[in-house]
Amino acid sequence: MNFILRFLVLAVPIAFISMFYVLLSTEDSYPGADYKVFEIPQFSLPSLDDSSNINNDSLKGDFIINVWASWCITCRVEHPYLSKLSREGIKIIGLNYKDEREDAVDWINKFGDPYDLIIHDIKGALALDMGVTGAPETFLVQNGIVVAHYQGEVNQLIWNKVFEPIIDSKKINLK
């Protein structure tokens, strides 16, 4: 009886602590990240400079989609990191979200353009279909299929923790 009690008072807490360690260490536990797999919804929207129409066929290969807006403060904070990714040759599609065209163009002219292509989604229609709740948000896309979604600012830490494991395991080529 005494032995059992002594064993239990050590074993039960250790079991609980190990359990929480395992739960915390799983990749899903990163808040803001989810790995639901879905196709990019059908859409047809103008580009930001209004020179062309962008639809599903315009988006080929593997890339990331970054949801941004000129009114979004965090997007400005995030911008240097996106520029760095862009300089490394990573393909980034911008999804300009609920923004006036003029403001968005001014913003790009002022801070620089890390995007290969910018979709102008003034009503947030495509964003809504993709499950966007605000800006900034970032999607990782492989051949038209979304494989990762992050709500919030992407930086080196988030890139390493949320995106890189998926890029490596699914052999995604963003360049």
């Binding site: 005494n2 009690l5 002594r6 008072v9 050590l10 807490p13 250790i14 609980f16 602590i17 359990m19 929480f20 360690y21 395992v22 739960l23 915390l24 260490s25 799983t26 536990s29 990163y30 808040p31 403060i73 965090t74 400005r76 904070v77 930086n155 830490l157």
Partner: protein, 481 residues
């Protein structure tokens, strides 16, 4: 955060409220307060001399911490009711649960402590409980701050902070438990507990409370384990907790009822047919039957809860009267605390059976009838405030006694975040709250209005405050234990 944000997002509107501002610090005083009995227990274990009376030292501090914990939980419950618009007093939200676990453990600890002070018995329980209370308090911080559980309370999450907290809690628990195992021989009671003594009842009480803590822990962690194993989300809600709490609490109340006559450190034949037991039982049966008849109660769990609550209330009223009239000794703290428990159980039981709600569609200048209430939609207008715009509606409500009052629920839109909140309007009376929230406007111009009639909900909080006042009496009393 790796950098300071360029500009803030404003404090979340549901947090812009005085009861919010006060409930977490109150809870934290409670949590942190339990470091004192914990430290005393650890010092006792390290010192290793079984003659040291650490329990005496820890007593008042533990009671103070328990008072703050009780009041903190009550304030939190009240805040969720009127500010979050939850419309009830308890939702088995994971963060409510992690506050309830230390409270249950602390309550058991205080009982166990009183035995250890008297006779150095139950020391194993007392020490394990003192370690549990403090560990469970830390566990609360872990759950809220690690982001492991989604809840209204998880405002700021960070898994790395979670790992840090886990390492901290783990070190504390494992080191304490090693000490416990190492010093087991000095903690062990040398005397046996006598059957039907107060000590025997309190050790049974420890088992009941231990089971409750374990069940809540299971309810909090099971969905996490399940999601990890099967990748599916499940939720554990009120049915699970009710199924466990009702039978355990009712049985504990029956034990409490008979323990009132028991004596410290000796076996006596419990007087099952004494005046107080018989009269209080008869009164309890009568009151329960009357409630069943008046409110058409059929649920067995409600009936047994009512019976247990009435049993305690009448018994303690009789005991208190006897002690006042005949100057017979009665532990006043125990009497007030357990009387409040009876009141709490009855309030909860009647609240759950009597309260009701309905969503109605109503146009301006129209009336609707709900139960005994006549609701007239008088007016709706836009109000501009410093940090939000609001739509404010006015309803004139008449009850069966032709008392008339105005309720003005609001919908607010906060500028900085664009967040929309609902402000409830509540009319408080002695027995019930009339609780109104306004929803959206429909295409035909009518508004969705949710009306709730919450019976005895104030009495739930009053019982909890009364219970904590028993603790306050003990802290302020000059009587040596």
């Amino acid at each position: 955060m790796p950098f300071a944000p360029s500009n803030g997002a404003d404090i979340n509107p549901v947090l812009q409220d005085p009861a919010l501002a006060i409930h977490p610090p109150t809870l934290y005083i409670g949590y942190v307060g339990f470091v004192i009995p914990f430290a005393c227990a650890i010092a006792f274990l390290i010192h290793g001399n079984s003659d040291v009376k650490w329990e005496e030292l820890a007593r008042k501090w533990s009671v103070v911490a328990w008072i703050f914990l009780t009041i903190g939980i009550t304030l939190g419950s009240w805040w969720a009711y009127y500010e979050l618009g939850w419309g009830g007093y308890w939702f088995w939200d994971p963060v409510e649960n992690v506050a309830l676990m230390p409270w249950l453990a602390a309550t058991a600890f205080l009982h166990s402590l009183s035995v250890s002070i008297k006779s150095s018995n139950l020391r194993i329980w007392t020490i394990l409980l003192s370690i549990s209370v403090f560990s469970l308090s830390l566990f609360g911080a872990f759950i809220v701050r690690s982001g492991i559980i989604d809840s209204v309370h998880s405002f700021a999450n960070d898994p790395e902070r979670g790992l840090y907290l886990l390492a901290f809690i783990g070190t504390i628990i494992i080191v304490s438990m090693f000490l416990f195992v190492l010093r087991f021989s000095i903690i062990k009671s040398t005397k046996n507990i006598k059957a039907f003594s107060k000590e025997s009842f309190i050790s049974i009480n420890n088992i009941f409370f231990g089971s409750l803590v374990f069940s809540v822990m299971l309810g909090v962690t099971y969905p996490l384990i399940y999601e990890y194993l099967y990748d599916q989300k499940i939720s554990v809600g009120a049915p699970f907790y009710n199924a466990i709490f009702v039978p355990i609490v009712v049985t504990a109340c029956l034990f409490l009822f008979f323990s009132i006559d028991s004596k410290w450190q000796r076996t006596i034949k419990l007087p099952f047919f004494s005046g107080p037991t018989i009269y209080s039982s008869l009164l309890a049966v009568g009151s329960t039957l009357l409630s069943m008849h008046s409110f058409a109660i059929e649920s067995v769990s409600i009936i047994i809860s009512l019976f247990a609550g009435f049993l305690l209330i009448y018994r303690y009223l009789i005991e208190i009267s006897i002690s006042l009239l005949k100057k017979k000794y009665l532990n006043p703290f125990s009497a007030v605390a357990h009387f409040s428990l009876g009141l709490l159980i009855i309030s909860i039981a009647l609240n759950s059976i009597l309260s009701n709600e309905r969503a109605i569609n109503i146009k301006i200048n129209e009336s609707e009838i709900y139960k005994d209430l006549n609701i007239f939609f008088q007016d709706i207008r836009v109000v501009n405030n410093s940090n939000h715009d609001a739509i404010k509606a006015s309803f004139v409500i008449k009850d069966i006694d032709s008392n008339s009052f105005i309720l003005s629920p609001e919908k607010r839109k906060y500028f900085t975040r664009g967040q929309i909140t609902t402000e409830t309007a509540i009319h408080v009376t002695f027995l019930r709250d009339i609780y109104l929230t306004i929803g959206d406007q429909l295409d035909d111009g009518s508004w969705i209005v949710n009306i709730q009639i919450n019976y005895l909900i104030r009495w739930i909080w009053i019982s909890a405050i009364l219970m904590s006042s028993a603790g306050l009496m003990l802290v302020l009393s000059r009587r040596r234990t």
